[in-house]
Amino acid sequence: MKRLSRALFCAVLLCLSACGAGAISDFSDYAPDEAHRLTVYTSHKEEVYGPIVKEFEERTGIWVQVETGGTNELLLRIEEEADAPRCDVMFGGGVESLAAYAKRFEPYACADAALLKPELRSQDDRWTPFSSLPVVLVYNPRLVADGELTGWADLLADPYRGQIAFADPAVSGSAYTALMTMLTALGGDEEELLAHFCEALGGQTLADSGDVTQAVSSGACSVGVTLEQSAIKAIAEGANLALVFPKEGTSDLPDGSALVAGAPHPENARAFLDFVLGRDVQSLVAGKLARRTVRTDVADREDLPSAAQPLFLEYDIARASEKKEAILLRWAQLCGEVQAG
């Protein structure tokens, strides 16, 4: 009996060895070593991070593992992984959001820190700016005459009631920034302004900040609030759109990058931050990506509205993030009331 079972066992082994042959191709020889690895979490679109990451790889020989997602989603992941971080660099996301997770980041002043626009830099270097993103007003020139829309106050006027494309600030970070910018620019009683704006919107918001230019261009809405870069990109793609810097002033809160505290590859992460703030990438930002650079020695594209023209207000990041919950709660109530009424 024993012999029989032993023979059966051998036969089964043979079968298994016959089945198992060569199912896996081994390429581990081509894998990069730890010194040549970097993990980047990015909320940028591929057209933004793609060429930058590729160029970084080619210049340094460091392999970059990119993981994409929404800003808040990625920041939450970094928070969850705080004990054993996987991510080296958070690339993208409004600096407001980055500031909210400042604990998870390590201060780093990049190589060219001195050449950055001082007003865009963080106090403690826990994040570095990547591109400046002014909040602008857009309108459909077929529906709105040139010069008719000049500033925030016009938005609240009767003609545009229910015609304003505005993303839900609870979902879109840039919409919240725009809301806070408007409150700052107009001044006065915040509660009253909020209620006023809600009424102007008719309680309706768009689900995604990317929908704003589409809604205005298509004529579904006649005016909208969005980021300059989105507007310019849409215009370049042939959208039926014009943009205005509000006369009361606007904000140019940048998006940024940050070095994750306890990053597995800190050296490579610093090299990446140096690279994205370097002249070459910032030239790409200002050129092909149609954004505003954060460097003083790189010129913005000539077809952008001149930097001298708009009035940039100081945006209090700390206060904005502090009040965020209260304002969003009130906003939801007001919108609910307007919709009900």
């Binding site: 043979l14 089945c19 581990s28």
Partner: protein, 568 residues
């Protein structure tokens, strides 16, 4: 019984399996394994060869393009013209075409000035694309020097190129322009056309596994991306469909990688079929084993069970049972032996029954003969005294002898010494002499004194002597009766011989056949009884023998010499 049968069958089944299925499974597995290993190995060799050829082809073209670019970069006219930013100079064009001449079908050659503007190209006339000098290819050519190979970026607008090779054109210390060779999809296709091999597909990637070129079959899927992801996550690449194997090699001059996808020689589907067939044949073998073992055990077991039942019957006393003998194998031989054994057993039993019955009859007769012997004895004693008182000496003697004979014959002992038997015989002869005066002479002769102590069955000799007196001399003639006791080895030989008329032929035949005398027929009953007693005590061979003699009768008894203390 059921359990033993089950275990017997199970053991048989296991043995059959061991003998049938295990070698089959092992063989099938081995054959499949060898078959697969051989095919896989030869496919692997083919893939390696193909891969080496692809790498060689690409390396050769990279080297050729590098040489051409070097010559362009070192050309003084080219450098001078690019520095001045002059486009469409015919002299430069002739240098460009002359240098690129052997490779014109393999790549497009272009010259860019220091600001990245395309000034000269052997490629098709189209939108003239400038290249950024602070980014990508031209940046690397200027900053890193030497021959730079780059994938044409996916974010680039160039519709044709897949890969570019570049080197800076320097005039003195400064970079004044760039010589670029561009490989389009068609160029790659041409390059690999002959070396890729049938059933194979190829992907060329940059050092980061970013695909540069893929043969048509692989354009949709992106194995390189999967490999890159696997490498970044530190795990192996698994091909779930099992239809392909992947092989990679690095082309050293460019640092680019060539990934070869080979159709697996034996697909997973084919292996499934093989395994199916193997499984089915093993299953058939198992079923056959089961069937044969059950049939075999039944064939062996049925006769054994019949034998077993028959033995149980015999055990309970039924000797009439017989087994059918249908074959010549061991089992049927056993059945035959069993039959013979029961035959013999039956014969023995009936023989011993017969002996028992005979013994019983003899006893009954003897008991009848002992009917109220004490009364007879007392009467004879009275007769003896009456004879003495009345002075009739013969009556007295006969009565005393008869009483003595009677006394001895009713004693319970079965064996007496030869001496006592002879004394009894003396008494008997004395009576018979009175009855038949002068008719015979009795002459006992004992060879030696010690024979007198030998034990013999009681009343053994008297019937023989009586037989001689009554039958031997029935015609009235006189004769002699000789009784001799001799020793022969360990045996006592007793012989009674008379010279009378001898036995009739009928009596002789009956005696020889050991048949009992018929009812009511008195003749020779004594001889028959002696013979029966001898046979009962000493077995079939110990009977009374009738010796041939010229005159009269000679009877002989041969028995082992036994003393009084040794009971048989």
């Amino acid at each position: 019984m059921k359990r033993s049968r089950a275990s017997f069958q199970l053991r048989l089944l296991i043995d059959f399996l061991a003998a049938g299925a295990v070698p089959l499974i092992a063989c099938v597995a081995l054959i499949l394994g060898i078959f697969r290993a051989t095919l896989t190995e030869s496919a692997q060799t083919a893939a390696q060869n193909s891969l080496a050829a692809l790498t060689g082809a690409m390396g050769g073209l990279v080297a050729d393009c590098g040489d051409a670019l070097d010559r362009l970069g070192e050309d003084a006219l080219v450098a001078a013209v690019l520095e001045d930013g002059i486009a469409r100079d015919t002299g430069v064009y002739s240098v460009l075409y002359r240098t690129a001449a052997p490779l014109l079908r393999d790549a497009d050659f272009s010259l860019y000035d220091g600001r990245g503007r395309l000034c000269y190209t052997t490629g098709p006339i189209g939108p003239w694309e400038d290249l950024p000098v602070d980014w990508g290819l031209l940046w690397a050519a200027r900053e890193q020097g030497g021959l730079i190979c780059r994938k044409v970026s996916d974010f680039d607008d160039s519709p044709r190129g897949r890969m570019r090779l570049c080197r800076a054109v320097r005039n003195g210390a400064g970079t004044v322009g760039y010589a670029v060779a561009e490989w389009s999809e068609e160029h790659f296709a041409r390059l690999f056309e002959e070396t890729v091999g049938t059933g194979n597909d190829v992907v060329v990637t940059d050092p980061f596994w970013d695909p540069v070129y893929a043969s048509p079959a692989l354009r949709e899927e992106d194995p390189a991306a999967a490999i890159r992801a696997a490498l970044l996550q530190g795990r192996g690449l698994t091909d779930e469909s099992g239809e392909y194997t992947y092989h990679a090699n690095r082309e050293d001059a460019s640092g680019f990688l060539i990934l070869l996808r080979q159709t697996r020689p034996v697909t997973a589907r084919a292996m499934q079929i093989f395994y199916g067939i193997a499984g089915a044949s093993v299953a058939v073998c198992l079923l056959l084993c089961l069937w044969f073992s059950m049939g075999f055990s039944r064939r062996i077991f049925a006769p054994i069970r019949a034998l077993n039942t028959a033995m149980a019957q015999v055990e309970q006393g039924d000797l009439g049972v017989r087994l059918p003998v249908a074959g010549t194998d061991e089992i049927h031989q056993l059945s035959g032996r069993f039959n013979r054994m029961t035959d013999r057993l039956g014969a023995n039993l009936s023989e011993s029954l017969r002996q028992q019955r005979e013994l019983g009859e003899t006893r009954i007769r003897m008991m009848q003969a002992q009917l109220n012997p004490h009364f007879l004895y007392n009467t004879l004693d009275t007769l003896k005294w009456l004879g003495k008182i009345n002075r009739v000496e013969e009556v007295s003697t006969i009565s005393a002898d008869l009483a003595d004979i009677l006394r001895r014959s009713i004693s319970a002992e079965r064996f007496v010494s030869l001496r006592e038997e002879l004394e009894l015989l003396e008494r008997y002869v004395e009576i018979q002499k009175i009855r038949f005066p002068g008719k015979f002479e009795y002459r006992p002769h004992v060879e030696s004194e010690d024979l007198l102590d030998a034990q013999i069955p009681k009343l053994l000799l008297q019937p023989l002597v009586e037989n001689a007196i009554i039958h031997g001399f029935e015609d009235g003639s006189a004769g002699q009766i000789d009784l001799t006791a001799e020793r022969h080895g360990g045996e006592l030989i007793l012989t009674v011989r008379d010279d009378g008329v001898g036995m009739s032929e009928e009596s002789r035949m009956r005696f020889l056949s050991h048949a009992a005398p018929k009812e009511g027929e008195a003749g020779h009953l004594g001889i028959y009884n002696v013979d029966a007693i001898l046979r009962l005590h000493y077995g079939e061979t110990g009977g009374l023998r009738l010796l041939p003699t010229e005159k009269g009768t000679c009877l002989r008894i041969i028995l082992p010499i036994r003393k009084a203390d040794a009971e048989p």
